[in-house]
């Protein structure tokens, strides 16, 4: 059972709090080859010295006029940053007791001494066990209020939901009803990143079911331009039901490629060598893999140079600017939550307020998606199902490949694959009627062949 220490700190951690990929840190993210010294054609957001929030949107049926930029509370180095963000105009704050083992909520609490509670919308979240009682939930929620030094929260979100069955959680709804009656809670909500296992449901399935349920007032959803279709369906449903919407993980992943320096190896490479060493891989072999991988990355970067130069991509900030503006520009999105751990980060984040994705940005993201998105199978999407005459479970096999390649669950993935009635071995000699079936442009047959090779060690 997951618990919070009612004396002031978050306590336990659900052992199986797995999450679906999809954010800036997502292993399923995208790669942006960064090129130094290219022409600066991509336009950046203008950043005044002391920006303030310029735009507010009504948060669905809550009726609250939320700042279009919200404060994501995954961690703060300093409680005064919360105070500063509010002074800059942010009035929507999202946190959870497991962020920093209660540290995020505590920092908000320290800042609250200086803030006008009545002007803020504060949400916290709760990871639930399937059979958790209302009393247990109320006790943990009390810990959150205590850490934040507030007498009520505006919303309590069921955190990281990956099963449609969880939508009707009896303990949660009983607790919410009691907390509302006591004046300690105003609204109920849900956050979802999507599935992490083939037994789980997609983010859209979960949130659409929650919208239909009728008891949820607010959603926090994974929302990047590479997954616009799924997020768009959720936003449309929220519009119909007048549910508030907030976004997280608006950035796709991206990376740079440090060189291999045996005298001063990059920390990530050292970690990799240690990790695979525990799996029986020799240091020399691990280094060989690293060196080979770097060479492959350099080759890809060379091929992508025209794209990079066309858009003048010089900094990681440029991609972030466009991604945040894209999320802000989507109809029905009310507030985009950003992690803003420093004063400078607050200034950068707030400077997005009131901005929209311009033509340059739209072109940039379109080209980016075309260049990189076609290699990215959206886990949980099943739009290509039905295109295969052999009824091969494409989405499932791609997911197993994802387990293998990105989650390091090789045995698990191979076991799952071996248990399938229909695997991808037919794809090797197929004339690929699936071509064009992926709405995101993934070349299905080559990807399936690679998945088969991987999962069967063919």
């Amino acid at each position: 059972m997951r618990r919070d220490d009612p004396s002031g700190r978050d306590a336990a951690l659900s052992r199986r709090a797995f999450l679906k990929a999809g954010g800036a840190l997502a292993a399923g993210g995208m790669m942006l080859p960064l090129a130094a010294g290219t022409a600066g054609a991509a336009r950046r957001v203008e950043r005044p010295a002391r920006p303030t929030i310029l735009s507010h949107r009504v948060l669905g049926r809550t009726g609250f006029r939320a700042s279009d930029i919200g404060l994501g509370g995954s961690y703060f180095a300093e409680s005064n940053v919360v105070r500063y963000a509010v002074e800059r105009g942010i009035n929507y704050i999202d946190t959870a007791p497991n962020y920093g083992n209660g540290d995020s909520e505590s920092k908000i609490g320290q800042a609250m001494r200086h803030l006008d509670r009545s002007r803020l919308f504060i949400t916290t979240k709760i990871l639930l066990q399937p059979d958790e009682s209302a009393d247990s939930i109320r006790e943990r929620f009390a810990g959150s209020l205590q850490r934040m030094r507030i007498d009520h929260a505006d919303a309590l979100l069921m955190h990281d939901v990956r099963d449609v069955d969880r939508v009707g959680h009896p303990g949660f709804h009983a607790a919410v009803a009691q907390l509302k009656a006591e004046g300690r809670l105003r609204f109920a909500g849900m956050s979802s990143h999507g599935p992490n296992d083939d037994s789980e449901d997609s983010m859209a399935d979960v949130l659409l079911a929650a919208a239909e349920d009728g008891r949820y007032d607010l959603f926090l959803l994974r929302f990047s331009f590479l997954e616009a279709e799924e997020g768009g369906r959720v936003l449309a449903a929220c519009g119909e039901k007048n549910i508030g919407t907030t976004a997280m993980k608006t950035l796709p992943g991206y990376m740079d490629v440090p060189d291999w320096d045996p005298e001063n190896p990059y920390e990530g490479y050292t970690s990799y060598i240690e990790r695979v060493g525990r799996q029986g891989v020799s240091r020399d072999e691990a280094i060989q893999r690293i060196v080979g991988w770097i060479a492959q990355q350099r080759a890809v970067q060379a091929r992508m140079r025209p794209f990079v130069e066309k858009h003048g991509i010089e900094t990681d900030e440029q991609l972030r600017d466009h991604c945040v503006q894209w999320a802000l520009s989507q109809p029905g999105m009310h507030s985009v939550c950003l992690t803003l751990p420093s004063f400078e980060a607050v200034d950068r984040g707030v400077s997005f307020s009131g901005t929209q994705l311009g033509e340059t940005g739209a072109t940039f993201l379109r080209d980016y998606a075309a260049a990189f998105g076609a290699a990215h199978c959206r886990i949980g999407c099943a739009a290509c199902m039905g295109a295969c005459p052999h009824r091969t479970p494409v989405s499932r096999i791609m997911r197993y490949g994802y387990y293998f390649a990105t989650q390091h669950r090789e045995k698990h993935a191979m076991r799952k694959y071996a248990a399938l009635d229909r695997d991808a071995s037919r794809c090797l000699a197929c004339d690929a009627p699936c071509a064009g079936a992926c709405p995101h442009g993934v070349a299905i047959q080559p990807a399936m062949v690679r998945a088969h090779e991987l999962l069967s060690l063919a």
Binding site: M1, A17, A21, G102, R275, R278, Q297, L454
Partner: protein, 303 residues
Amino acid sequence: MTPTPRRPAALAAALAALCLAALSGPALATAGERLAGSGAPPPARAAAFPRPAGWQAAGEILDLGPDDLWRHINGAADQFLAYGFRNLREGELAAGEARVTVGIYDMGDPLNAFGIYAAERSPDRADLGVGAASQASPPWQWLLLKDRFYVKVDKLAGDLPEADGAALLAALAGGLPGGDSLPAAFDALPAERRVPASEGFTRAAFLGLDELARCVHAEYAGEDGAAWTVFLMLPEGDEAPADLLDGLGDAWRKGKGRAGKRARVREVPYRGLVAVRAADGGLLGVTGLDSERDLLEALGAGR
């Protein structure tokens, strides 16, 4: 006027995490071209996991790296990544009715482990005297710091008396390599008037300032009721302290008077002034005192 731009630590962590993700093998879910070939590691085998006497292992052992930590603990992973997280091994142990989850976080070095421990510990809990640091929040959680490892024990079911929890921590500490002392970097901070157990390590945005990274710090208390913070910003690689001082950015100015010539001073929102100077081992800084003169004096004399 803005400080010299630096890549935020969270972003650096994200980049590192993605590098590791990419190293894991052919990337079906990422840019298709970048990992063609045979880069996949062999099937994972969980490293040896401690099983203290009287406890039985229950279920599989998770072995997670920087790329998949956030799937396990969602947004809470941000802070771990910012502190250089390398690996988590997590498993369940059972003794009678009691069942716990033991998570052993390898943070790469003792200072990073101390940083995440200090961020996640409760400020009002006594140290248990196990490992380099430890505390209990009964009946739900026990925390342990030892060398580069941060260990979290969370009770899942049954009763776990405080003494039994401490004994479990001691057994776990005994199975981990390394020493039981705090990181040596804290030796550089003045010992006089230091508030016990106030030490911390902030890897990014100390005081909320992007330019102050990798800071060990502690609180101090004077007889007159004054309270202040002393910190040491550690260099990255072979950076010289003087270079750190020059790289602080335009928001910093020289201190006033003769005492301030070698110092830099800036305003921190809601906090007042912070002053720093180059010192052995990095940039020594002080904040929390009322006047610039007091800050510079404290900075010079270590107070």
